[in-house]
Symmetry: C2
């Protein structure tokens, strides 16, 4: 029997989802892993770092610590799963985890963008895995698809809705809500960050497009290479006149490759009803890919949510555990 121990950094929306799914599915997950690898594998969360233990349920407190270094120093922990968010402490802890020879899984697009994915280089040098499927498009396995399924192919165009919050807000406005009302509903449903500007001004989508661009072209773009316009400039009149033409305004992330040029943008676009992203409403995410050899591919699913995003995190963790 082989043990595989996870150290969890953060116990918010996604972290608690990972914990609860593992709690409910651990027997099946371990059985599946054991069958895949031919070795009995016992996988579990050993320790959880949080800032304030008293905020949480009695049932999980025994696993919790306020000392993140404790997880990194623990020789029994094989993998650090970073779900704190932000690009300061999170980035520092991921570097320290790799330096301590642990695999790292994260959902943190901002940290990856900030370090231009230098974590991936560091992981390679250390011979450890660094995976971040949940950082882009929630349950939609766009990273695995680009990196593994389509590894022999070239992306010619990618056109995607990768920020569920703004898509939800625009959907609400097109249904008749004012901008302020739509923002309020989104905030109540937990679709917006405490500081909503990351979503509304297109930064969140920019981080994600940066990650997808590196996977598609090998080049990690800086923020100056991505033309970025948020949804704050859209007026109710524009949405109304788009609707009169049978169109919808969406915040679209776009990568286009023409010969040696690479065009990257995050901006509101009016889409006709024939467009594959036209029907993607609410907090859904979707990507339409045009590949040199594979042709067109379309993927959609929940772009956020506790359990939804947690399945993407767990997909990464289980892949690493299966490879030993």
């Amino acid at each position: 029997m082989k043990s595989f121990r996870i150290g969890l950094l953060g116990f918010g929306t996604v972290g608690s989802g990972v914990y609860r799914i593992l709690e409910a599915q651990r027997a099946q997950i371990c059985a599946r892993l054991s069958e895949q690898t031919g070795t009995r594998i016992d996988l579990s969360i050993k320790r959880i770092f949080v800032r304030d233990i008293n905020k949480y349920d009695e049932s999980v407190r025994s696993l919790m610590t306020t000392d993140a270094q404790e997880l990194i120093d623990d020789p029994e922990i094989d993998l650090i799963c970073e779900l704190i968010g932000g690009d300061t402490l999170a980035l520092d802890l991921m570097h320290r985890a790799l330096a301590a020879d642990k695999h790292v899984v994260t959902a943190n697009k901002m940290a990856i963008f900030t370090c231009q994915n230098s974590l991936a280089d560091m992981a390679r040098k250390k011979g450890k895995a660094f995976r971040y499927e949940a950082s882009v498009m929630g349950v939609v396995p766009i990273i695995r698809v680009l990196k593994e399924s389509l590894a022999s192919d070239e992306v010619l165009e990618l056109c995607a809705i990768i920020n569920g919050s703004t898509n939800f807000i625009l959907t609400k406005i097109s249904e008749g809500a004012s901008y302020e009302q739509a923002m309020e509903i989104a905030q109540q449903l937990g679709y917006l960050e405490a500081d909503p500007s990351s979503d509304v001004d297109g930064y969140d989508a920019m981080y994600k497009l940066g990650i997808l661009t590196q996977l598609s072209t090998g080049h990690f773009p800086s923020s100056t290479e991505i033309h970025r316009v948020g949804i704050g400039t859209i007026t109710a009149e524009q949405i109304e006149s788009a609707r009169a033409l049978g169109q919808k305004i969406k915040l679209v992330a776009r990568l286009q490759r023409t010969d040696d040029r690479l065009l990257l943008s995050v901006q509101p676009e009016a889409l006709t009803s024939e467009h594959p992203l036209y029907a993607i409403d609410g907090s859904l995410n979707a990507a339409a890919l045009t590949m040199r050899y594979a042709g067109k591919l379309f993927l959609s699913g929940a772009g956020a949510g506790s359990y939804e995003t947690a399945t993407a995190v767990l997909g990464d963790i289980l892949s690493i555990a299966a490879q030993g």
Copy 2:
């Protein structure tokens, strides 16, 4: 530097696609693999088994042999890629390849169904990889998604169009063609097998649903467990009256799990315009998944085609090469 040599069985639609993509993309593919693994990897096709060498272009003949055993006995060959089809010779050669300690990649749903995926067990025992992404839904990475991305989750429902030929025929009939005309066009475009009954009677979709069922539930169903009705029973009047109601008739593969019951079917269904598969016309494939934790996920793309299917085969080959 590490070499990774492929032995190709068959040089038909998909086999020649694999060869041509590798020819065009080999430098990029090897660079990508080397970057991923930190070791310089030189990947190439070493030998191709065909029945009649004279049928092929001079440029590839030097790689060809009519003796399949030669590939299996070659100690330099790491991986056998089976693209002959059928369940007699192909199945025998895959068994022999695994017995000879080679990885195996195939697109052969019929062979996997016939042996109830015993090749996967054999590969596990031998410590070799057995991958078959291209056997179901062409470019759509449904197998990787179920097996890896959603490994922590449970499929509650799967509803899919997984046979492009019959979908193409039904689309043509709904556009006004007769059944015979539609069959003829499909045959001319290479969408139908020499013996079209595998597509038309729903066997091809049944094989694929069998594979998806094992990935979703762990159980490989026999043909008696899948309720199967082909498209031959559909009349032009039924298609017309569906259209009058704003519906389309499609050959739908379905898996439904309710408590301890598993319902499996391949049959024509009339879909309303709200159904996620309604817009899937022509030879496209698509799957709508409902997961316990990840919620709804939708994937679509080309279900057939030389280059399209070849990218799925190559995705498997490159994953194996990257894992060494």
